[in-house]
């Protein structure tokens, strides 16, 4: 159970990091600002009430690029120095010199960072909530909560991805490069459906037809999976919805598990 001690240390330490506070503030402001602007757009759309559902649908549908980019950047930046930062500073020797297993270190540090991210996102969502409550005619607690919780899960998944890079690579500079590469790949190569379409073409020989399994392929990416889960939570889950939920949970757990496997026997 010593991961708890590690997580506590991690929160105490990172809560004093000025750069993390700046990051969280930028996130909160950008998120509240986005809520205001997109809420305004949602209100102008013909046939739509300015409802929380419409707003959430917009944020995770047409405007999902904005939401997922913001969350990915915050999540990756929260996690990218988790292990490599301590490796480079030498405090990893202090940490592992105490009776913590490698598992305690990976789990504890990831949970600590995820806690920081969650705290930052709660502030961001609180700001968004204030905007919603003052400028919208109706408010749906369920829709908002689903949005808040699932978006936080996506953020935690990105923390895990960053922790994987941080635990596998020995230099902070290279971790940064890899994390930027992951972001660019997911946003511009996957979410843009460029690679999913190419893969589909290699099976079907056609760029025009969209086979039934295309959604399953597309939703391997964390961002499309997240969007689908949010809309499913508003409109009801179908097979793709459940599949996407599993994918999202895997994105939360698998990178951290891999990070442990990479870190377990690595030299400090």
């Amino acid at each position: 159970m010593s991961w708890r001690v590690v997580a506590e240390k991690e929160v105490r330490d990172s809560a004093r990091s000025r750069s993390l506070w700046v990051l969280m503030t930028v996130f909160a402001v950008a998120f509240a600002g986005g809520t205001y602007l997109y809420g305004f757009i949602a209100g102008l759309e013909p046939g739509l009430e300015s409802s929380t559902e419409a707003f959430v649908g917009l944020m995770t549908g047409q405007a999902s690029f904005y939401t997922t980019s913001l969350v990915a950047i915050v999540g990756l930046m929260t996690g990218y120095s988790t292990v490599v930062g301590e490796r480079e500073s030498g405090s990893l020797k202090l940490l592992l010199g105490l009776p913590h297993s490698r598992m305690d270190v990976v789990v504890g540090k990831t949970l600590g960072r995820a806690t920081m991210l969650t705290a930052g996102m709660i502030v961001g969502f609180a700001a968004a909530l204030a905007v919603l409550l003052t400028s919208y005619q109706s408010f749906s607690t369920t829709a908002f909560l689903a949005f808040a919780v699932l978006t936080t899960l996506l953020g935690v998944a990105y923390v895990g991805v960053a922790v994987l890079a941080s635990a596998s690579i020995r230099s902070q500079t290279r971790v940064t490069a890899v994390v930027v590469g992951v972001f660019v790949f997911l946003k511009f190569v996957w979410d843009s459906s460029l690679l999913p379409r190419l893969l589909t073409y290699s099976f079907t020989g056609s760029f025009v037809d969209t086979p039934e399994w295309f959604d399953y392929l597309m939703n391997i990416g964390p961002n499309p999976a997240y969007s689908t889960v949010v809309s499913s939570s508003l409109e009801g889950f179908d097979a793709v919805g459940y599949y996407s939920l599993v994918v999202l949970l895997l994105w939360m757990l698998a990178p951290v598990a891999l990070a442990y496997l990479k870190f377990r026997n690595s030299d400090v």
């Binding site: 010593s2 330490d13 202090l94």
Partner: protein
């Protein structure tokens, strides 16, 4: 029972062999000095002993158990050489973190005072000097009265008073019953505190012995210079007949005799006086620093 045991330990980084086929056993209750010049492989050895690094081959046991076992780790206090601290946490928070990690009760202020950080506990460790950081990590190592203390170059970067305090703490801990593993590239730091020393050179353990034992192991500990009146050749020849005389040189009227042991000098003097008149004599003992240099090939 042994506190530290390594069997046929080898650690390679690619083509470079940092530690080669090292055997080491440290008995419980010893203060063991681990000596060698920088780059000899001391820190790599310690890193493997403490599971910071994986051995390429060979086995390691701490306190007769797997060094990764948590219950064993709670009984090992560690001051690594190339450590870092958490710059945003205070000194006190570092020690408290160690207390919670080891799940023990400890007097945090007492520990900070013992290492000489009285009144510095509320400051963030990022503002500490190098020596203060070292004292701080030593305090975390002392938490929970560990059975084994591993101190890698604990005195380097400290002023003489700080270094003496560290040696005193090592002895105090040993009196309490702890085994102390004390590494240094400076012999003077360990000779006063260690019951045995091991000398490492180029990834190998060159010698393990008590300080006196090392002295005896090394040839030509003492040098005796006799100025004789009369037959210099005969005087030199007389010196050569004495047991434990290693080498004899003579130039003009001076005969220089290298003795294996300090006691040999008087016998040599008696023997030479039978062959020639001795008008003057000078002796020179090799310092331990020179012995160490002789082992490691470093001046």
């Amino acid at each position: 029972m042994s506190a530290v045991e390594a069997r046929a330990l080898t650690k390679r980084y690619g083509d470079v062999t940092a530690v080669e086929n090292l055997d080491l056993e440290i008995e419980e209750g010893e203060v063991f000095g681990f000596l060698g010049p920088n780059g000899a492989g001391k820190t790599t050895t310690i890193d493997v002993l403490l599971s910071y690094k994986q051995p390429t081959s060979g086995e390691v046991e701490l306190l007769d158990s797997d060094p990764r076992d948590r219950d064993v780790r709670r009984e090992v206090g560690i001051l690594p050489e190339d450590f870092g601290v958490y710059p945003r946490l205070t000194g006190r928070e570092h020690v408290e973190f160690a207390v919670r990690s080891k799940d023990v009760d400890a007097d945090v202020d007492g520990l900070l005072g013992r290492v000489g950080l009285d009144g510095e506990g509320e400051r963030r460790a990022g503002g500490y000097s190098k020596g203060m950081k070292k004292r701080l990590v030593l305090a975390t190592a002392l938490v929970g009265e560990p059975d084994l203390l591993v101190l890698d170059e604990p005195t380097s970067g400290l002023d003489p008073n700080g270094a003496r305090r560290i040696r005193e703490i090592a002895l105090e801990e040993n009196d309490r019953g702890a085994t102390v593993f004390f590494s240094s590239h400076v012999l003077g730091q360990v000779e006063a505190v260690c019951s045995r020393v091991g000398i490492m050179q180029d990834g190998r353990m060159e010698a393990v012995n008590s300080i006196e034992g090392l002295r005896e192991e090394i040839h030509a500990v003492s040098r005796l210079e006799l100025t004789v009146a009369g037959d210099v050749e005969a005087a030199a020849e007389a010196a050569r007949q004495v047991e434990d005389v290693v080498d004899v040189e003579h130039e003009d009227e001076v005969v220089a005799v290298h003795c294996r042991r300090g006691e040999t000098k008087l016998e040599t003097l008696d023997s030479v006086r039978e062959a020639a008149e001795v008008v003057d004599l000078r002796t020179r003992e090799k310092s331990l620093e020179e012995l160490f240099a002789e082992y490691t090939g470093e001046p």
